[in-house]
């Protein structure tokens, strides 16, 4: 293999990984932060390790307009901020309408990708227990960074307003 081609071949994976890191960092830093209530349980992924699986409790109110996820139209959740640390008011709408009328929006096609949170294997049992206890008492929340197009990135899983992996505050 010629020298330049060989260099390109071995550097390409590193370039792709670097690009992935930059993209994820930009998504986290540029997106507006929103919190959502969650409920859940804990399986594990053979390749990626332990994770907590949960459902986002959206508490949707009456839709702004009818939008079908199976249709070609892009559906969004219109987010209207209520207060800091409080989940937003959520209404279903087309992304076009949500972009014009809402404080923020979340594309519904990404919802299925937001339902797992990876945790360190060493603390898996402890964190799982902590998550389950808190979820039963509705003290768990998901912090999302959502950009203007409605694409979300998971910023943190919160228990009592703190990241789940951090030490719990005295109650």
């Amino acid at each position: 293999m010629p020298r330049k081609l060989l260099i390109a071949a071995v550097v390409l994976p590193l370039f792709v990984l670097g690009l992935g890191i930059v993209r994820a960092e930009l998504q986290l830093s540029n997106g507006r932060r929103w919190v959502f209530d969650v409920t859940g349980y804990d399986p594990r992924d053979l390749l990626r390790g332990h994770y907590l699986n949960y459902r986002i409790a959206l508490h949707e109110t009456k839709p702004l307009e009818r939008c079908d996820d199976d249709s070609s139209q892009r559906c969004c959740l219109c987010l209207q901020g209520v207060a800091s640390g409080v989940p937003p008011k959520v209404q279903r709408a087309s992304c076009e309408l949500a972009a014009k009328r809402c404080d923020g929006m979340l594309q519904t096609r990404y919802l299925s990708q937001l339902q797992r949170y990876y945790i360190p294997e060493a603390d898996a049992n402890k964190l799982t227990q902590r998550f389950q206890d808190a979820a039963r008492q509705q003290r768990t929340q998901l912090l999302l960074a959502i950009d203007k197009s409605g694409k979300p990135a998971v910023a943190a899983l919160l228990v009592d307003g703190q990241r789940i992996a951090s030490k719990p505050a005295a109650r």
């Binding site: 293999m1 020298r3 081609l5 060989l6 260099i7 390109a8 071949a9 071995v10 550097v11 390409l12 994976p13 590193l14 370039f15 792709v16 990984l17 670097g18 992935g20 890191i21 994820a24 986290l28 992924d45 053979l46 390749l47 990626r48 390790g49 332990h50 199976d70 299925s112 990708q113 937001l114 339902q115 797992r116 949170y117 990876y118 945790i119 360190p120 294997e121 060493a122 603390d123 990135a153 998971v154 992996a165």
Partner: protein, 404 residues
């Protein structure tokens, strides 16, 4: 007379077991006056120049894969002792060191070392993509991660030379393709096209991608520069063709109806089969006529089986599926025998015997029927074993002679 082929039929040149057979044969030919001492020396020199340290490659590949799996496991353990950015920086540094090592070994043409390092780097990139997913809590579909992995590692994996690494690479590529197509078909199933479109597309893509991989495995560059990779892929892909045919036999165990039935895809698959028929001599120029006939018949029978089992609604017909599987195994056995691959022929003969025995359990119900079935099945198996022992070398020779 001297049939020294390449590819799946290259018994004399296949690195795994060629040297002993070749030297023995050459001695016999010289003794019989078929070749002189000079010719023998030239052939030996040529073949020894093509030898590869198979054990060294196998151990290297195994070691590399173990190391790679270890890296994946460490990542899966989701070590949390250091911060996010430090973790990713350490990952990229290790990746950089591996990339430099692959470059260094490839530039110095240290084939074994670059093979091992490429395999480790291959696993490392997958582990790093998984790490990225962990660190940033990415919930993207699996096919996206696999596609990224396969596309960005393909250029340096072309450095691979050993059969084991080639096999793992092919599994990675085909696995990525399968998962991606499945995700796409899933989207189609949920959309307006529904099950019928997805099933037809799935069958067509399965046939078409088999042809594509068979073509790729015989690409001139691969055959010339990476003969072991080409040979390994060829064997694996024909094995996959047979496995797909056997799986199609199980369609007779189902009751397909409505949108499960295949329609236009049977025509499309027929075109793919015809294309494969036409291209066999180009792909494998050294095969005998019997080997072409066997492989063509195998592919045609798989298509017929698919058309019969999934082209129209029918009740459960397990016996038909079982017979079809035995027929396919028989054709495959004939094909490999025509290539002189006695070991594979023996394996397939054993598979036929086993399938016949299992068939008796499936088809018969009462104790008496099953007992009688097993007695006749046992006799048939013993007869098969006798035929295999007595006739297969002779048949292989005859087929070889007929192939010219």
């Amino acid at each position: 007379m001297l049939r020294v082929g390449v590819g799946a039929g290259a018994r004399l040149t296949s690195p795994g077991y060629a040297p002993m057979n070749l030297e023995k044969k050459l001695a016999q030919w010289q003794e019989a006056g078929v070749i002189d001492a000079d010719t023998r020396a030239r052939i030996e020199g040529f073949e020894h120049g093509r030898q590869h340290p198979v054990l060294l490659y196998a151990l290297g590949g195994l070691g590399a894969l173990t190391l790679g799996t270890g890296i994946v496991s460490v990542v899966a353990a989701n070590w949390d002792a250091i911060g996010k950015l430090q973790k990713l920086a350490a990952d990229l540094l290790l990746g950089g060191a591996l990339a430099a090592a692959v470059y260094w070994s490839a530039r110095r043409e240290q084939a074994w070392l670059s093979d091992v390092l490429a395999a480790v780097y291959y696993a490392f990139v997958l582990a790093s993509i998984a790490l990225l997913g962990q660190v940033y809590q990415l919930g993207a579909p699996t096919y996206q991660a696999l596609l990224t992995w396969s596309l960005c590692t393909a250029p340096f994996m072309l450095l691979a030379r050993s059969p084991l690494v080639a096999a793992v690479w092919l599994c990675g590529l085909v696995g990525t393709q399968g998962v991606s197509i499945d995700a796409w078909l899933d989207t189609l199933r949920k959309g307006s096209g529904g099950n019928a479109l997805a099933n037809n597309l799935g069958a067509t893509l399965a046939f078409a991608s088999t042809l594509m991989w068979l073509w790729l495995s015989r690409a001139p560059w691969l055959v010339r520069e990476r003969p072991l990779v080409s040979d390994t892929w060829t064997r694996m892909l024909w094995g996959a063709v047979l496995a797909a045919g056997l799986a199609a036999g199980f369609l007779f165990y189902e009751h397909p109806s409505g949108s499960q039935l295949l329609s236009w895809s049977l025509g499309a698959c027929g075109v793919v089969v015809a294309a494969l028929h036409v291209s066999l001599p180009r792909l494998y120029p050294h095969w005998s006529a019997q080997a072409y006939a066997g492989h063509r018949l195998l592919v045609a029978c798989i298509w017929l089986l698919l058309a019969a089992a999934a082209g129209q609604s029918h009740g459960e017909a397990a016996w038909l599926g079982a017979i079809a599987q035995v027929v396919l195994l028989g054709i495959a056995a004939f094909s490999v025998l025509a290539l002189g691959q006695l070991r594979v022929f023996n394996l397939l003969t054993a598979a036929i015997a086993l399938r016949v025995l299992v068939m008796y359990f499936e088809v018969f119900g009462s104790m008496l029927d099953t007992g009688l079935g097993m007695i006749s099945g046992g006799i048939l198996t013993l007869l098969l074993a006798w035929l295999w022992k007595r006739k297969s070398p002779e048949l292989a020779q005859r087929l070889g002679r007929m192939g010219g």
